[in-house]
C-alpha cells in the first residue's frame, strides 16, 4: 500500500480547459491495456493551484511534477513511472531564475514558500470520493465535536484561535457563532457564502472543487454549535464544476451518515442544500444573499437592521460564513486553537488564500500565513513580473479594494494593514500590474463594474458610481477637465458615507487608491492628454 504508485491528474476548471479530462481517459486506457498488472492508481484530483502550467500531473509517492502535459506525452509518463525511463524532462517545470528543470513540486519556488493548510489536500485527494477525505482524517473533527465538545466549548475554541471571516470583512468568527447560538429560536440556518463574485478571484471555487468535504464538515460543526437544522451553500451558477462536485459530496456525506437524521448516532440532525446564485455581485452582501434565497431581488436591507445572526433567512437566526472560514473549522477542532493561533500575525490569525494573477510569472492559487509581505508573494512565489517589465501595482480586494504601489511591497498582508493602506483583504484576489497597465483605465474598469452591479436601491451608489464612471471614461478618452480629480474625490466621500450597503461604501476605493498613489497618471491624462502606459486611445497622443 505504502509504495503504491499514484498518478494524480488535476481536474480543476483551469486544467480541464486545457484538456485534462481527455488525458485522464487516455491514461486510463493505457494503464488498463499495458500496465494492468502493475500497482498503479490513477486519481482525479482538484486544483493544484499552479493553473497556468496545466494540465498538471503529479506522480506520488516521489512527488514528480509534470506541467503542460499533452496527449502524446502519456506513453512517456507511464514508461518513466514504471522506471523504464527517467522522469520526462520536457514536461518538468523550468525554474525561471536558474533555467534548470525541477523534478519535485516541493522544490518549485511557487510551492516552496507557501504554507498550505486549507489547500493542503486540494490536488491530493479525489473530491468525488468521500473515502479519500475520510482516509486523511476527514470528519474526525465532526466526530470529536459531537462526542467530546459542547457548543460553548467549540465557540470558546474558535474564539481562542482568533479566526476571522475570510470573506473579506474579517469579523471574528467565534463572536459571530456565539451571537447566532445565543439568538432564541427553534429554527436556525447555516449558510456558506460561495458567491465568489470578485472578478479576478477563484480561491473559493478551487476549494469547492478540490476539497468539498472540508466545507461541508465545517458547516455541520457550525450547525451543531449554533443549533441549526439546515445548511445552504450559496454558490455562483457560473461555477458548474463546483456545483457538480458539491452535489456529489453532499450525497456521499448523507450516505455515510454525516448528514441527515441523528448524525453519527447523536441527537443532532442537519442537512445541506445547494442554492445557485443567478449572477449578482451585490448578493455577496448578507442581507441581499438572504433575500435572493427567499426568491426576491437581491437588494440589501437598509440600516438600522437586526444582525443576520439574529434575523436572517425567513427572519430566523442565520450564520453566514465564507467557504474558507468553514474549511478552517475542522482544522481548528482537530489541531486546536493554539496551533491555529501561532500562524499569522497578532490580529490576523491563520493563513490567507489568494488567487495570484495578472502580470506575474507564476499565476495560480496560493496560501500563505497572514502577515506575509506582498513582495514575498509577488516575487518569491509569483516569480516576479514577466518579460523584464517593471512592477507597478497590485490590486487586492476586487472592486471594493484598491491598488497598492511598489512602495507598499513590504506591507504585511493582513486585514488591518491592507485596510490602513486604503485597500481591503477582500476574498483573496491579487492582480499584479506592470508598467503597461494604466491605472486610470483600471479605476475606470472597476467603476464600470460597480455601476453595473449597483442594485439601484440607494441614490448615492446608483447615480454616484455612474457619475464617477463617466468622469473616468472621459479622462481615458482624453476629455478630462481641470478639477476632475477633486470632483472624483468629493463624489467618493459622498458615496462612501451615504450608501446603504458595503458595495456602495467601498465602490470608490479603486479610484481613491489610484488617485492617492498614481495621481501623476491622472494628471498626464487630464493635463497632457497622454496615457503613460499606452493603454488609453487618446487621439493625438503628444
Amino acid at each position: 500500500m505504502e509504495n503504491k504508485i499514484k498518478i494524480l491528474i488535476c481536474q480543476g476548471t483551469g486544467c480541464v480547459s486545457n484538456g485534462s479530462e481527455q488525458l485522464y481517459e487516455l491514461l486510463k486506457i493505457n494503464i488498463e491495456e499495458k500496465y494492468h498488472d502493475k500497482n498503479i492508481q490513477l486519481k482525479r484530483t482538484g486544483c493544484h493551484g499552479f493553473c497556468q502550467q496545466g494540465p498538471l500531473i503529479v506522480i506520488e509517492p516521489e512527488g514528480i511534477f509534470y506541467t503542460k502535459v499533452k496527449q502524446e506525452d502519456v506513453e512517456d509518463i507511464l514508461k518513466s513511472t514504471m522506471g523504464v525511463i527517467k522522469p520526462v524532462e520536457r514536461l518538468l517545470y523550468v525554474d525561471p531564475t536558474t533555467n534548470k528543470p525541477v523534478i519535485h513540486y516541493k522544490d518549485i519556488s511557487f510551492y516552496r514558500k507557501q504554507q498550505r493548510s486549507i489547500l493542503h489536500y486540494c490536488g491530493v485527494i479525489d473530491p468525488k470520493d468521500i473515502t479519500d477525505y475520510v482516509g486523511i482524517g476527514g470528519y474526525s473533527a465532526l466526530q470529536k465535536a459531537l462526542s467530546k465538545m459542547n457548543p460553548d466549548e467549540i465557540i470558546s475554541e474558535i474564539k481562542k484561535s482568533g479566526l476571522r471571516g475570510l470573506g473579506g470583512a474579517g469579523f471574528l468568527t467565534g463572536r459571530k457563532w456565539e451571537s447566532c447560538k445565543n439568538a432564541l429560536s427553534d429554527i436556525k440556518y447555516v449558510i456558506c457564502n460561495a458567491d465568489e463574485g470578485d472578478p479576478g478571484a477563484f480561491q473559493d471555487r478551487s476549494v469547492m472543487e478540490g476539497n468539498p468535504h472540508s466545507i461541508i464538515e465545517g458547516m455541520i460543526i457550525a450547525g451543531y454549535t449554533v443549533g441549526a437544522q439546515k445548511g445552504i451553500i450559496y454558490v455562483r451558477a457560473e461555477y458548474p464544476l463546483a456545483v457538480k462536485i458539491l452535489k456529489i459530496a453532499i450525497e456521499q456525506a448523507r450516505h455515510e451518515g454525516f448528514l441527515g437524521e441523528h448524525i453519527l448516532d447523536s441527537d443532532f440532525s442537519f442537512d445541506i442544500d445547494i442554492f445557485q446564485g443567478a449572477g449578482a455581485f451585490v448578493c455577496g452582501e448578507s442581507t441581499a444573499l438572504v433575500r435572493s434565497i427567499e426568491g426576491k431581488r437581491g437588494i440589501p436591507k437598509p440600516m438600522p437592521r437586526a444582525r443576520t445572526t439574529e434575523e436572517g433567512l425567513w427572519n430566523k437566526p442565520t450564520l453566514l460564513n465564507n467557504v474558507k472560514t468553514f474549511a478552517n473549522i475542522p482544522l481548528i477542532i482537530n489541531h486546536g486553537a493554539d496551533w491555529f493561533a501561532q500562524i499569522g500575525t497578532d490580529k490576523s490569525k491563520g493563513t490567507a488564500v489568494f488567487s495570484l494573477t495578472g502580470k506575474v510569472v507564476n499565476c495560480g492559487l496560493i496560501e500563505v500565513p497572514m502577515g506575509t509581505t506582498l513582495r514575498e508573494i509577488i516575487f518569491d512565489i509569483g516569480g516576479g513580473i514577466p518579460n523584464k517589465k517593471r512592477f507597478k501595482a497590485v490590486q487586492t480586494g476586487g472592486p471594493s479594494g484598491g491598488c497598492l504601489p511598489a512602495e507598499m511591497l513590504d506591507l504585511p498582508v493582513d486585514f488591518d494593514s491592507l485596510k490602513q493602506a486604503g485597500s481591503i483583504m477582500g476574498s483573496g484576489g491579487l492582480v499584479v500590474m506592470d508598467e503597461n497597465t494604466c491605472m486610470v483605465d483600471v479605476a475606470r474598469y472597476f467603476l464600470d463594474f460597480n455601476q453595473r452591479e449597483s442594485c439601484g436601491q440607494c441614490i448615492p451608489c446608483r447615480l454616484g458610481t455612474r457619475q464617477m464612471f463617466s468622469i473616468l471614461d472621459d479622462i481615458t478618452q482624453g476629455k478630462g477637465r481641470h478639477g476632475d480629480i477633486e470632483l472624483l474625490l468629493e463624489l467618493s466621500e459622498s458615496i462612501k458615507s451615504a450608501s446603504i450597503c458595503g458595495l456602495g461604501k467601498t465602490a470608490p476605493n479603486p479610484v481613491l487608491t489610484t488617485i492617492r498613489y498614481f495621481r501623476d497618471e491622472y494628471e498626464a491624462h487630464i493635463l497632457e492628454k497622454r496615457c503613460p502606459a499606452g493603454v488609453c486611445s487618446i487621439r493625438g497622443d503628444l
Binding site: 480547459s17 472578478p199 479576478g200 426568491g295 426576491k296 495560480g364
Partner: protein, 157 residues
C-alpha cells in the same frame, strides 16, 4: 412540446415562492431563455404577481428574456482578463462573428456576451463557449476558434 417541458419542470417543485430563482434557472437551462408566457405560467404556479417574476428575472445577470444562439460565447471581463487584453479579444470576436456584445446572430447560431469572471484567472484572458473554457486567448486563437467552429458546428477541442 415546450408546454410539456415546463409542466415537467414545475411538477418537481412544491409551489413555494422561494423556488422562483431555481425554477427560472431550470426553465432557462431547458429553453435557453425565459419566454413571456412561461413567466406568466410560473407566476400562476407560485401564486405571485407576474410583475414579481419579471422583476426578479431582470435583476439577475443570468436570465435572458430573448432567445439565445446555439453557441453562447462569453468573454470574461474579470480583472486579470481585463489587464491581459480582454477588451481586445472582445473586439476581435465581435469582428469575427459580426455581432456586438449582448447580441445574437440572425441565424441563432451565436450569442455574444460578457461575464464578470469565469474564475480561470490564471489563464487570462479567457472565454467560454457553452460549457467549455478556453484560456490564454490571443487574436490568432480567436480566428482559429471561430473559423473552425462555424464549419461543422463541432466544438473546438
Amino acid at each position: 412540446m415546450e408546454e410539456d417541458v415546463i409542466n415537467e419542470i414545475l411538477a418537481s417543485y412544491r409551489g413555494d415562492r422561494c423556488e422562483l430563482v431555481p425554477i427560472l434557472q431550470e426553465v432557462q437551462e431547458n429553453l435557453g431563455y425565459l419566454p413571456e408566457q412561461v413567466m406568466a405560467k410560473i407566476a400562476r404556479f407560485l401564486k405571485i404577481p407576474e410583475s414579481h417574476v419579471y422583476s426578479v428575472a431582470l435583476f439577475y445577470a443570468q436570465f435572458r428574456l430573448l432567445p439565445l444562439g446555439r453557441k453562447r460565447v462569453a468573454v470574461c471581463r474579470g480583472t486579470a482578463c481585463h489587464i491581459r487584453g480582454a477588451p481586445e479579444i472582445l473586439k476581435n470576436i465581435e469582428k469575427s462573428l459580426g455581432i456586438k456584445e449582448g447580441e445574437t446572430s440572425e441565424d441563432l447560431e451565436y450569442t455574444l456576451e460578457t461575464v464578470a469572471c469565469i474564475g480561470c484567472c490564471a489563464l487570462a484572458p479567457c472565454i467560454r463557449i457553452n460549457k467549455d473554457v478556453f484560456g490564454n486567448m490571443t487574436s490568432q486563437k480567436v480566428e482559429k476558434l471561430f473559423s473552425s467552429m462555424s464549419g461543422r458546428g463541432k466544438n473546438g477541442k
